[in-house]
């Protein structure tokens, strides 16, 4: 993609801080009805890097992830306050179309969720939504997306078969291919590996490393080893008391956060004292 090329040409290091953050979140509060789920989150998600959100379950990391592409809009009675800037523009700004936002900020879920249709149609679904009609063009997009998801070789002969007939790990990669087919700028992954077998986990982690050159990746995981393996940056979330809003405790380069956390609570968590 042109931006990536431009970066390399101008010699900016891929993860340099000089580059503006992809997401710039400022003082975000999030509510389910009257209950405040997230409080005062301020964080910058770095471009072309993998950022991991960790924390004990129920700490709001998934909720926060879903604020980034406004998936939370689907929950009746919820609302967000504060700003979430994507390339400098507020995704919660007046009139912003969450539907188009989600095309740019794709999402992978915990449970592999292929549609009950063929493998081909699963991947072609997104491009078709956005107006691609020509068969040849669709074929190309499908092959490319499956290729980027490292699934092409396994499924190229069984494209008309139902997506649900694949194994769990394959299904998850199919879902990744499905998202890649709409060329998102950001990929949000909500515990993508918790429902699949270890071999497939390996494949997906490899895939993330390949993809991050071109796509900004945010992954929620409760597996700290995974966070340490795949991410460049890590954010630690914590809900300290039941009924209180979850907060961002610490955010730093993964290497720093896991070796010398600044916050006591982070240290307790990563050393396994709770959670």
């Amino acid at each position: 993609m042109s931006e990536t090329l431009a970066e390399h040409q101008t010699g900016v290091p891929p993860h340099g801080h000089a580059e503006p953050d992809k997401f710039d979140v400022r003082k975000l509060d999030f509510f389910y009805g009257d209950f405040q789920a997230l409080g005062d989150i301020t964080v910058g998600i770095k471009r072309h890097a993998v950022t991991a959100f960790i924390g004990p379950s129920g700490c709001g990391k998934s909720t926060f992830l879903r604020c980034l592409n406004r998936m939370n809009d689907l929950i009746p009675g919820s609302h967000a306050e504060g700003t979430v800037l994507l390339d400098g523009e507020d995704v919660y700004g007046p009139g912003v179309d969450p539907v188009d936002l989600r095309r740019r900020v794709g999402m992978i879920f915990q449970q592999p969720n292929p549609f009950p249709m063929s493998i081909y149609d699963n991947v072609a679904y997104g491009p078709k939504l956005h107006g691609v009609r020509r068969k040849a063009e669709l074929d190309e997009i499908v092959e490319k997306a499956l290729g980027r998801a490292n699934l092409w070789k396994e499924v190229k002969d069984i494209l008309p078969r139902g997506g649900l007939t694949l194994s769990g790990g394959q299904q998850q990669r199919l879902c990744i291919a499905r998202v890649l087919a709409v060329e998102p700028e950001v990929l949000l992954m909500d515990e993508p590996c918790s429902a699949i077998d270890p071999t497939s986990v390996q494949k997906i982690e490899d895939l993330m490393a390949e993809l991050k050159d071109r796509i900004t990746i945010v992954i929620v995981t409760h597996n700290m080893q995974q966070a340490a393996r795949v991410s460049d940056f890590t954010a630690f979330f914590l809900q300290e008391k039941l009924g209180e809003a979850a907060k961002l405790v610490e955010f730093d380069r993964t290497a720093v956060l896991f070796t010398s956390p600044k916050d006591r609570r982070t240290e307790d968590y990563i050393t396994g004292r709770f959670g």
């Binding site: 592409n69 998936m71 689907l74 009746p76 539907v99 188009d100 936002l101 989600r102 095309r103 740019r104 794709g106 999402m107 992978i108 879920f109 449970q111 969720n113 292929p114 549609f115 009950p116 249709m117 679904y125 997104g126 939504l129 956005h130 139902g162 649900l164 879902c175 499905r178 998202v179 709409v182 949000l188």
Partner: protein, 304 residues
Amino acid sequence: MSDTGGRSEKTNASASGVPPTRRRELVDKRVTNALALGVIWCFALATVAALGSLLLYVVINGARELANPIEFIFSWPKGVNAEGGIWPTIQSTLYATGLAMIIVTPIAVLAAVYLAEYAVQGRLVSVIRFAADSLASVPSIVMGLFGLALFVEAAGIGFSALSAALALSFLMLPIVMRTTEEAIRSVPKYIRWGSYGLGASKWQTVSRVVLPAALPRILTGLLLATGRAAGETAVVIYTMGTSLNAPISPLEGGRTMPVHVMLMAMEGINLKAAYGTALLLVIMVLAFNLTARYIVRRTRRMQG
């Protein structure tokens, strides 16, 4: 049954130190259990026997009439006692029911889409649900008089397949609505998220992912409701009339199979025709039912 029985036996055997009253309690408990379960078995068997005897009766008596099925199905009733075939009643039944299905399907499915996907719990939704439940429980004779008053007389459509279809669609509406809503709700949330996550709008998600996924169960509901409509008597008798006619235009009246059965039985002259028509009607309705079950089973196999 057997495993609990086994368990209490074991208790009994090792109960040598237990006082006699306690032992009798255990025996009583076992006897009561066996008796009660026996009664439950009898109830279930009685239900099955009721179905069996009903079907058997209709089949035995109707089979004679259906000895020459082609003639019985495709020829017209002749003479004083409506002997011969029953083709016009079959055509009337299929016409009115098919038309009702065409009318009710889009409305019921979209209504269910609203309830399952768009509606926010509130006063309006509970009013809609109450109305649907009420509609489902309106006695069919009342629905028939309603059709007579509104479609046949006030709207001036007359005794016709269209009037019957409109009245029948009110009968089918709550059934199709409920089964479709359940079908839509049974589509996993995750699948919806997958679509939204790709930048699909709500309608795109509903129309391209949710409805296709729910289609088999929607079809099942539709078939069951259509079967119900095809067997309905009281609604059509006041909306389509009783004249023996094979309707071509929706404005023509006719006599459906259940109405024919009823008239033959009431008139009592040609009971053979009543049996034959009843058998055909039962076969038709069972075909709807069995197709519906087949669809469910096949989908379950494919998705599970």
